[in-house]
């Protein structure tokens, strides 16, 4: 499989009052085409920063971020992003939010309508298609943001804790839906989460990061076949992998 996203010795520092703050310290990671990778790690370890680089919103201080072998030129609709904060346009209805990206693609109106409809249905918001974001719950807002990213059908999905605000049931439903669409449409997915269970359930590889400075602690392979099922969550193999990830996240040796 060819490499889709490639972080090469990526360093990100922010200037501080005294000296600099190292958010990412020489991070290297290759994500294969059509791979599903999840990223876990303590708060502030640079997960969002790493993802923003792939999105083209943040430039590395040094090192390179390549997509399809070319340095990221900036943001583009080939890489869909779902932000940690929902980032819905509050003056647009759910449907108009979802159509925002489609309009920029200059699709004919009926095609646009159809694709928006489909994405909205996928996340179960059909009854609220004409609602303004202020009338939606946190979980519904997040689903709308997901629909907006799905609608433009990007090759890469960059998802920053997309299910964090959801209740357990919706969360599981959307996880399965995400895996469903992923296996059908074979996108490359980089998915950030705090939830170790979620990380293992979704991914082929779990990237465990450590903080201060932000770096990759270890990468855990998940050798469970797709499609993933609810039974797998209860399997001993799943438990073993989850423990390994858990250990990686919560028993990190302190950095010097």
């Amino acid at each position: 499989m060819s490499t889709k996203i490639s972080f090469k010795n990526v360093v990100k520092t922010y200037p501080m009052k005294e000296g600099t703050f190292t958010a990412l310290d020489h991070v290297s990671l290759d994500i294969a085409d059509r791979e599903f990778v999840t990223v876990v790690g303590p708060s502030g370890c640079g997960k969002s920063t790493l993802m923003s680089m792939a999105a083209g919103l943040v430039e590395p201080t040094s090192g390179e971020v390549l997509v399809d072998g070319v340095p990221v030129p900036g943001p583009g609709p080939d890489r869909g992003v779902i932000f940690q904060q929902y980032a819905l346009f509050p003056w647009l209805t759910v449907r108009k939010n979802v159509e925002f990206g489609l309009k920029l693609m200059e699709l004919p109106a009926d095609e646009r309508r159809r694709r928006a409809e489909h994405a909205i249905e996928l996340v179960g918001l059909s009854d609220f298609a004409d609602a303004l974001p202020k009338t939606l719950s946190g979980g519904m807002k997040q689903r709308c943001a997901i629909a907006r990213a799905y609608a433009v059908n990007p090759q890469v999905l960059l998802m920053d804790e997309p299910f964090g605000a959801l209740d357990a049931l919706t969360r599981v439903q959307l996880q399965d839906q995400l895996l469903d669409t992923w296996s059908q449409e074979q996108r490359t997915v980089m998915f950030i989460t705090h939830d170790v269970d979620e990380a293992v359930y979704l991914a082929r590889r779990v990237v465990v990061m450590a903080a201060r400075p932000g770096r990759i602690q270890q990468i855990v392979d998940v050798d469970l076949p797709y499609p993933r099922t609810e039974e797998m969550r209860l399997s001993p193999e799943f438990a073993r992998i989850r423990n390994e990830v858990w250990h990686g996240v919560y028993h990190q040796p302190q950095a010097a």
Binding site: F83, A87, L88, V152
Partner: protein, 266 residues
Amino acid sequence: MTQLSALSKTPAARREPRRSSRALTLNLIAVVIGLVVWTLLATVGVQGLPTPLQVAAKAGELIADGTLLDDALASLRRVLLGFLLGTLLAIPIGFLMGWYATARGLLEPYVQFFRTIPPLAIIPLAIVLMGIGEVPKVFVIFLASFLSSVVATFQGVVDVDKTLINAARVLGASDRTIFLKVVVPASTPFILVGMRVGLGSAWGTLVAAELIAAQEGLGFRMQQAQLYYDLSTIFVGLIAIGVLGLVMDRLLLLAERRLTNWQERR
């Protein structure tokens, strides 16, 4: 849209009429008490203070001979002209300042400096430079509304949520699209608040502006009445200014509610 906004409105809509009718009753009671106190003060003997009835009679007189209408129209024309010119210029300049760091660097010192000068303090300068016609009066009102709108627009653009801009950017939006489809709608609430403040200060500047040798206008009429110790006319002028100001403010508030109905209100 209709179905859902109806849905989301129900709880509030059920509560609102009762609450607002209660508030209205209280408002009316307050007005009546105010009128009674005023009448008492006038009859018990504050020197020269007219009673509400005398003021009402005077108002009837001024309405009948057309003076009040002419004055009100003259004042309104000045305020609206100055206000419209001020706002029309303020919005593009505010956007420029918010969007381009260069424009901000060049314009901000002037805006911040002139903002600290009360518009009234410009009057002497305006008279010397522009004579005593309509121009200096409109100019002062223009300046008052320009300054408050320009700062509000600029602030609105600067405060646009960066994640919204990023969200548009990753969907493939160009700078132009981001400006038109994200920055403009996101800063609309700020602009409208600025316009309301601007209208308030424009209206407030009016009376003083009309002291500059006007031939008609509410401020001029009050100035004249002052010479003859005609308190009733002064009261009529004050009330007319208050009522017109209130009406204009409410109209803008209505526009604001309509245009920014998407905002989460706490």
